[in-house]
Symmetry: C2
Subunit: 248 residues, 2 copies
DNA sequence: CGCTAGTTTGATCCGGGTCAATGCTGGTGG
DNA sequence: CCACCAGCATTGACCCGGATCAAACTAGCG
């Protein structure tokens, strides 16, 4: 039942992705809304010393569930999917990390989920030990991290409402609104254009739907003049209709 | 679709629940595994000064989604359900708080979910402002809180796997195993007896099933000699069978 | 131009939702 | 002590939405 075909990520050692020195963090596009926002100029210099910029091709892995958590990441561009795979082969995506999002600090030493790039992406990569050392010396960063964790928890709760037993239209409509909100936060403007860089399978594995139902539902919404389907995303035509659907 | 009948909590002002002074925190049954575990003897005295013990009758509310978060809670006995209600009336339980669990510190100032007592329960109640002040003076408590938040996030991810599109048997089996694990943590021993103090409706609203399906599935498991149904919970008869089912 | 991966679309089936009746249990008052 | 009642839980009959299986289509890309 509902197995996710071909979800195997590309196993690629980190060394094969580009690793370059972090420069001008101050001009970083995600600076203002990522965890770094609480660091002042001089802290930022120290911070950039311990991190490296890493580039990831589509499907390449940031880390895997069950493995030692030896590095943490701050996404700067692209889209990273966080997921767990059930014993039966089904994949549940437990979150999409957008630019500015922070990931890789699990409860213990072991990653509790896997993460890979849905599309070509960049992230700042910090060795765990160095990051924890820095954290020790900058307690206000811990407060910011705690904030990030509680808001990640709130988003997970939001997702619980979506994944549960709701109609496919409602799930898709909520998903569109969620992505609209989250991209608005990154791009700085609300726009009827909602980028959906992830594939249909990813949307399905996030919402608990099959690829077939995702496709059917999107096209039903298109027929009803609620959205337009464009390459790499959708355009909201009738926002009220989408909002109404999302309620059920 | 799947509306939750009669989920209205009892609206009861906090003042009507018993509020007594916190005494001998050192002998508190949940001390060793709750957030207080990081506080030493003298810290604990200060901490107990700002809190009060509150008792809650079944269905009485700790706090409501959307309201000002003016107090945080540490459950000491009973069972607290955390939930959100969708516009269509369906209730999604986003977590059960067992003795030792901590709740009530949302991302912002506003509660992002509601919480009420599933059965008669007790909790330590701390005014938000006083708690944050104490937190300011005890940075290691913040580290413990961050730990609690990340592990709550991991549990939420776990729940996402359960709520998704799985067979009813698999959901129920996973739920039984989850509750077994969590009670073991509280009681200090693993036991084939798994207390389920919450009602069928609560289990359904946690897993995304109807009351009818929960009941049917439990009785199917009983017919298959996998469990026994006893008052206030179940007894695992064939653990292997349950574990096998939980995988699918 | 043809290959491949992803997407769309159709036909069929089944698990679990819905509706509704019945059963059980514990508390209350006569 | 028992009749009654209210709140859950159980059980049955039926139906529908979305999963499944499979085929056709499309868009990049070498």
């Amino acid at each position: 039942m509902l197995h996710s075909p071909d979800i195997r990520p590309v196993l690629r050692s980190v060394s094969s992705s580009t690793l370059t020195r972090l420069e001008n963090c101050a001009e970083c596009p995600v600076r203002s809304f990522s965890i770094c926002s609480v660091l002042d100029r001089s802290d930022l210099d120290d911070f950039s010393d311990i991190g490296r910029r890493a580039s990831f091709e589509p499907r390449s892995v940031l880390f895997l569930e069950g493995h030692q958590a030896d590095a943490i990441f701050n996404v700067t561009s692209g889209l990273v999917r966080q997921y767990r795979v059930l014993p039966n082969g089904r994949r549940q995506i437990v979150g999409f990390a957008l630019p500015g999002d922070f990931l890789g600090l699990p409860p213990g030493q072991i990653h509790s989920f896997s993460a890979d790039a849905a599309v070509a992406s960049d992230a700042c990569r910090f060795p765990r030990r160095a990051f924890l050392g820095f954290l020790e010396r900058h307690p206000h960063l811990l407060r910011r991290l705690h904030e990030a964790a509680t808001s990640a928890l709130a988003i997970a709760h939001e997702q619980l409402l979506q994944v549960g037993p709701r109609h496919a239209d409602a799930k898709i409509a909520s998903f569109i609104l969620l992505m609209r909100r989250r991209w608005a936060n990154v791009l700085g403007v609300v726009s009827p254009m909602v980028p959906l860089p992830m594939g249909r399978q990813d949307i399905g594995d996030y919402l608990g739907l099959t690829i077939a139902t995702v496709s059917r539902t999107l096209h039903r919404l298109r027929r009803e003049q609620a959205i337009e389907i464009v390459s790499g995303g959708i355009r909201i035509v009738n926002l009220t209709r989408i909002e109404r659907l999302a309620e059920f």
